[in-house]
Symmetry: C2
Subunit: 121 residues, 2 copies
Amino acid sequence: MGLSKHDEFALRDNRIARYAKALAHPARVAILRFLIHKRSCVCGDIVDELPLSQSTVSQHLKELKTAGLIQGDIDGAKVCYCIDHKEWAAAKKFLGEFMDGFRSEDLECCTPVGKSIAIKR
Amino acid sequence: MGLSKHDEFALRDNRIARYAKALAHPARVAILRFLIHKRSCVCGDIVDELPLSQSTVSQHLKELKTAGLIQGDIDGAKVCYCIDHKEWAAAKKFLGEFMDGFRSEDLECCTPVGKSIAIKR
DNA sequence: GATGATGATCGTAAAAATACGATAGCAAGG
DNA sequence: CCTTGCTATCGTATTTTTACGATCATCATC
């Protein structure tokens, strides 16, 4: 037990989950925001910006790379990280389409509007 | 160590992370997709649809509730789950704005286009 | 009130994520 | 070549997530 059954779900849902997971920690959101506004793209500069150690930031960067959202290029002694615009576009598409799937217009759930009671049993 | 420093990040980034975390597992994506297309909104029907046990599904539902994306209303012996359209709209806004922050047009990272080399040291 | 169905919660176990210090590898400069 | 600065990786500890079976609480029905 506890062994994450990702294989048994649709590819599309796994992909959405993969992108979402990359954004599922505030440090990674902050890193991406930093890269987006390209105040720099050097690892060290990111470390200075966050309340985390260098090794932890490096680990988060690795996860962002694994998710595909960023790319790391060696630039001499430093490493330049930047958004992978192709994967970024894909993530935007997958997440966006999923979120757009729900339209509040055709909202007619079990309980009529107003009768909605907070669940506590 | 290992004690998630969420407090030290911006509220906005924490909120984005919270929504993203809700979508960070394919089971939860599948549950939301199911609710979106409202083939039903009863817990039992969701369990039938997924390769997971009832207790695990219930746990995922709880996390979706914690994230705010869904709402559970008691309907007799059953419980009706539905998308919380207000929070859903907020999530769409927060995630969408964040993703839109990057525009590939003004893409000019450290390495000139083409020189991008896969990192492996 | 007993019974059956539904769904939450508890207890538990395994896996993954988070975080850090220490260390290793590499490039640049002295 | 030796040092210095930058980043990855290793080892480790802690916390959180994922998953299940068992059980409990509630509602509906008999």
